[in-house]
């Protein structure tokens, strides 16, 4: 499972970090950092993060 975030779209809303903190996190300067190849067990949380991103910046590739 591969997670891609379109950084041109991302507005650092931080909603993904609330939905899937194991995969997405806001660093000290409030920029998004994320795990690009999370464990398969994270799929459901990644899908939740995709749902809550207000600008649909997160993509999932198998």
């Amino acid at each position: 499972m591969k997670v891609i975030v379109d950084m041109n779209l991302c507005q650092d809303h931080g909603q993904c970090a609330i939905a899937a903190p194991e995969v997405f996190r806001m660093d000290e300067s409030s920029r998004l950092v994320f795990e690009a190849e999370p464990d398969e067990s994270m799929r459901q949380y990644v899908e939740d993060a995709i749902d809550v991103c207000p600008v649909q910046a997160i993509f999932l590739e198998d």
Binding site: D12, H13, G14, Q15, A17, I18, M26, D27, E28, S29, S30, E47, I50, D51, V52, P54, V55, Q56, F59, L60
Partner: protein, 406 residues
């Protein structure tokens, strides 16, 4: 016979409901009916970056395509019937009838028909008057505005303020008219509203507060707005952002209380019916996080949260299994972008009886301010203005911590 779920309303709530039915294992037919011709698309940018970033020739199709949601990969085999409304429903016979007479029988019905903008009472003049809810609305507005356009925005709620900020950035000469003394008072309260008013004025938008519109003037096309005190504001366009109506007319005749959306229980069943659920802006449900009063919540986060629970309710009913789930207690989340300010709220600031500035100052919103909203001492909401996202979880946890749930 496979079971059929009919979803009426093809926007965020309808999409999330269809996705969740599949994600939670429903294998029957899912039919989504939508009166807009577009597949579900994201509305918030219509008053913000999409309105700002589009040229005057932009079409509704282009806007909707650019904002289209990407459905979950697991959401397969969903039938979309777009471009015509559900005209009526017979909840006893379990059918939905479309405008062209097509009758859709269902085993369970998901209502996701949302809201439409309220209009000023005066029907004429009709031209030059706008609302912002759909891609079509935004395209029509964009066509009529540009540098130097004189725009009056009536109503200073979130959508009105965002639209005013966007039109200002597009070079329009903007006046906002609001009957309350401060903007967004329902969402943020008087003190924060006053601070936002000062900020917006500082950015160059004229606000006339404490006054309503008594008349729209013009032959065929609006050319002036008359306020309660007789002030005349000459204008080229008017944007009406004066609240909304729930799209429930098509459910008339079924004995439902349609006075304010659809009255739901905590599992989103409509008035105790096991086979009818509501999601999104139209659902009036109790949130035990706060109390047992059913309320509608017009936040982008609610269609997703409510669709998840509503899908569970539907699947439990269709499979004859009891619904085993903790109380449905979503934490409402809302954001808004206005004049360089990013507002983010968690919880329901509107329920508060006291307000405290926990960080920063309301006099310098640009530098960041965090406001905590309490009711009877319990934190019911927070509003963060230009607070770095890394600190949002801290403030969000304040609302979670003072949960009324036991």
């Amino acid at each position: 016979m496979p079971q059929t779920v009919v979803v009426v309303g093809a926007s965020l709530g309808g999409l999330r409901a269809a996705e969740q039915l599949r994600a939670q294992g429903f294998g029957g037919s899912v039919v989504v009916v939508g009166d807009e011709p577009h597949l579900p698309y994201n509305r918030p940018p219509l008053s913000k970056e999409s309105l700002l970033g589009s040229g005057p020739d932009v079409t509704a199709e282009e806007l909707a395509a650019g904002l289209a949601f990407r459905p979950r990969a697991s959401a397969t085999g969903i039938e979309w019937l777009l471009g015509q409304p559900a005209a009526s429903a017979d909840l006893r016979a379990r059918t939905v009838t479309l405008a062209d007479g097509t009758v859709l029988p269902y085993d369970a019905l998901v209502v996701a028909t949302g809201l439409r903008p309220r209009r000023l009472p005066q029907a004429e003049p009709a031209a030059g008057r706008h609302v912002v809810r759909t891609a079509g609305d935004a395209a029509r507005l964009r066509r009529e505005v540009g540098p130097g356009t004189r725009a009056v925005v009536v109503g200073a709620g979130f959508i009105g303020c965002e639209t005013a900020a966007t039109l200002h950035t597009l070079g329009c000469d903007v006046v906002v008219v609001e009957p309350f003394p401060v903007p967004m008072v329902r969402g943020v309260g008087t003190d924060v509203g006053a601070a936002l008013l000062a900020h917006h004025r500082g950015a160059g938008v004229r606000f006339i507060t404490g006054q309503g519109v008594s008349e729209l003037r013009g032959e065929g096309r609006v050319d002036a707005v008359v306020l309660d005190d007789g002030t005349v504001i000459v204008c080229d366009v008017v944007v009406e952002s004066v609240g909304s109506h729930c799209n429930t007319e098509w459910l008339a005749g079924n004995g439902l209380d349609l006075s304010d959306g659809l009255l739901c229980d905590n599992d989103l069943h409509v008035e105790g019916r096991p086979d009818v659920v509501a999601v999104g802006d139209i659902a009036r449900f109790p949130n035990p996080r706060f109390d047992d009063v059913p309320r509608r919540v017009e936040h982008w986060s609610i269609p997703g949260d409510s669709a998840r629970r509503a899908a569970s309710s539907v699947i439990a009913h269709l499979s004859g299994e009891p619904l085993e789930a903790p109380p449905f207690a979503p934490l409402p989340a809302f954001w808004s972008d206005q004049f360089g300010l990013r507002l983010q709220s968690f919880g329901s600031p509107g329920l508060a009886d006291s307000v405290e500035v926990a960080e920063g100052s309301l006099d310098r919103l640009t530098d960041g301010a965090a406001v905590v909203y309490r009711r009877s001492g319990a934190t019911v909401g927070v509003l963060l203005v230009n607070i770095p996202v890394a600190r949002h979880p801290h403030y969000r946890s304040l609302v979670l911590a003072s949960d009324q749930l036991v």
